[in-house]
Symmetry: C2
Subunit: 332 residues, 2 copies
C-alpha cells in the first residue's frame, strides 16, 4: 500500500490535527469529541447547519465548514458513520438559538445515529430538523427513492442550506427548500479504479484491468452495470442520460451541473466530459445555469467521476449564487 | 490505460472546449490561438499577468485565470511548452496599456518561447518583463539556482503578481516584488506513482512497488534519491528539512505553507503531513502565516505531494491576503 500515513490507528486524529492547524482561521475542534465547528460557532440568531459522515471523502465533510455553508461536522472513521454522541455534540455546538438543520447522506448508520442525536437534542429543547440526501439514481429505482444513497448532491444541499441560514431563514423554511433542492438533484457516477482502504490495505472493490463500474457508490458500492472501458463521450452520455430521465429534467429547465472527481481522475479528463454533458443538455434544450467541476466529494484515490444535475428555480438560484467561505469551497 | 478520454489527438481541444463552457462567467478563448484569457481582458490601466506551460497540471495553468490572479494563459500540449506565437498572443491579449509581466516556470522550452514572445511584443512597443520560477530545491544545488525547475511555487507568484496588478502597481515594482516572492519560495516533492501519459499510454517514470522518488519533478523528472516507502512523518520531515535549510529559513521567520497534491494523493494524507510540517516549523521557531493545502499544480494522476515554504514580509503578506477570484482558486 503506497500511502503517506503513519500508524493506521492514528489516521483520523492526525488528519484532524493537521486540519485544525492548517485552517485555524476558519475552524476549531471541540475539546471533548471529534467534532469540528466554524470558529465562531454557535452563531447567535442563525439556524445551525450540521453534517457528518465517514472520513475518506475529503473535501467532504469538514472542508465545507465556513460562512455560508456548514457550522459543524461530526467526523466518523474511514467510511463509517459518526456515533450518536458526536452527532449530538455537533448539534449543540451549532445551535445559536434558532435550531439546527441536519443535512446528511442516506446511509443506514448515518440515518440511525443522526436520528438518535436529533431526538436527544429535541428532548433538551433544541429544535432540530433533518434533510436526508438521496441523489444517487443508480442505487435504487425511482419508485424506491427512499433507498437511494446520497453522493455529491450533498454539496448542493450544504450550499443552499448554508446560504439560507446566513440570510436569516428559519428552520422550517430551510427544511422545505432543502428538501426541494435534494429532490431536484440527481447524480450518477462511474469508477474504473478502487481506493485502497488505509486501515486494511484492501481495495474498496475488485475490478478488471479494462473494466469500469457504472453507477458506483462513494464507498465502492456496486452500480448498475460492469462494462469494458468506454470513451469519455460514451460514458458521459450514459451517465447524463440516466440522470436526465430520472427527475425527469425537461426542455426549458435550467440546471446546475456538478462534475465531481472521485479521487485520481484528472481535471483534464473531467473537462473533456463536461463538454459532452453540455452538448447533451443543449440537445435536450436544458440550459446550464452554473457549473461546478473538481473534487467535491471523493472516495480517497478512487478513479472515476460523477455527474450531478440540479433543477433550478429562482429561490435555488439565489442560494447557489450566494457567497460562501468554506475551507475548501469558496465563492465570491 | 484507464482514462476518460476520446481520441488522444483531440485531448487539448476537447478539454479547452469544456473549460470555456464550464467557466464562461470568468474566461474566454481567443479565436485564433490556444490562449485563454480573463473574460474582461485586457483590463485597461492594469499590468497584465501572463503565464502558460504544458497541459496536464490542472488546475495550473488555466485554473488561475481570474481577478487578482492571471489575465492570460498560453496553453501547451501535454507537458510541452506553448509555441512562441501563442505566448505572444497571450501578451497582446492581456496588455491594457501598462505592460505585461510574464510569470512562468524554469523549463528550457518555456524560457525560450516566452523569451522570444517577449522580444516580439517589445518590438511592437509593449513593455514586458519576466519572472521565472525556480523553487524546486531538488532539481539543482543552491549555487546553481538558475538551473532549478519551477514547481508549485508558481502559484505563490501568480497570487502576488495578480494582487499587485489589481491594486494598480507598475510593472517594474511587480517584477521586483515578484522576484523576491520567488527567491523566498522553496519547494520539494515526493512521488510513489507515475501518471500515465494519455498520448502514449506510457508512465511518466518507472518505479518499484515499494519505492518512492524524493525530489521528483512535475513531469516525473528524477529527484535526489530513490528510497523505500517511508511513513508520512519520515517523508514529510525529509522534505521539510531540505526546504528549510535551502533559503535558509531562520528562527523568527514567518512562512506561507503550500502542501500540493500531485494528483492521486488524498487530502486525508496531506493533512497528516501538514501536521508534521507544522511541528517541524515550530521546532525551528518558524511561524506559519497562512496554509494552502490541496491540488494546486498536479501531474495528471501522479501519486505524491510537495512542500513549499515562502518567507513572508509585510508586502508579501498583503498580496497573499488579497482577495482573488480565479476559476479554481478563490479567496475572500
Amino acid at each position: 500500500m503506497k500511502k503517506f500515513i503513519n500508524r493506521p490507528e492514528n489516521l483520523i486524529e492526525e488528519m484532524l490535527a493537521g486540519f485544525v492547524i492548517a485552517n485555524a482561521n476558519k475552524v476549531r475542534r471541540l475539546e471533548t469529541e471529534r467534532v469540528l465547528v466554524r470558529k465562531d460557532a454557535p452563531v447567535q440568531g442563525k439556524v445551525g447547519v450540521v453534517t457528518g459522515g465517514g472520513s475518506g471523502h475529503k473535501p467532504a465533510f469538514i472542508g465545507y465548514i465556513g460562512k455560508g455553508l456548514v457550522d459543524a461536522v461530526a467526523v466518523g472513521d474511514i467510511f463509517a458513520a459518526p456515533p450518536v454522541q458526536r452527532a449530538y455534540e455537533a448539534i449543540k455546538a451549532s445551535h445559536g438559538g434558532r435550531g439546527v438543520l441536519l443535512c446528511f447522506g442516506n446511509y443506514s448508520g448515518d440515518v440511525m445515529n443522526f436520528g438518535m442525536a436529533q431526538e436527544l437534542a429535541q428532548s433538551e429543547g433544541i429544535e432540530v430538523e433533518s434533510v436526508i440526501v438521496n441523489d444517487d439514481v443508480a442505487s435504487s429505482p425511482r419508485d424506491r427513492m427512499d433507498n437511494r444513497r446520497g453522493v455529491a448532491g450533498e454539496v448542493i444541499l450544504w450550499k443552499v442550506a448554508g446560504a439560507m441560514a446566513e440570510e436569516g431563514a428559519d428552520l422550517q423554511k430551510m427544511k422545505e427548500v432543502g428538501e426541494r433542492a435534494v429532490f431536484n438533484t440527481r447524480s450518477m457516477g462511474v469508477a474504473h479504479t478502487p481506493c485502497i482502504l488505509p486501515t486494511s490495505g484492501k481495495p474498496s472493490f475488485e475490478i478488471g484491468p479494462d473494466e469500469m463500474e457504472i453507477g458506483v457508490g462513494h464507498h465502492g458500492e456496486p452500480g448498475i452495470e460492469r462494462t469494458k472501458m468506454m470513451s469519455a463521450d460514451q460514458v458521459t452520455e450514459l451517465l447524463t442520460l440516466k440522470v436526465i430521465e430520472d427527475l425527469p429534467f425537461a426542455s426549458g429547465d435550467e440546471v446546475t451541473v456538478l462534475i465531481n472527481g472521485l479521487g485520481s481522475t484528472s481535471l483534464l479528463e473531467m473537462y473533456i466530459c463536461v463538454r459532452k454533458v453540455a452538448e447533451i443538455l443543449s440537445d435536450h434544450n436544458i440550459k446550464i445555469y452554473r457549473t461546478y467541476i473538481g473534487e467535491f466529494f471523493t472516495s480517497l484515490e478512487m478513479g472515476g467521476f460523477s455527474v450531478t444535475l440540479t433543477k433550478m428555480d429562482d429561490e435555488l438560484k439565489k442560494y447557489i449564487d450566494a457567497p460562501c467561505d468554506g475551507v475548501h469551497f469558496v465563492q465570491h
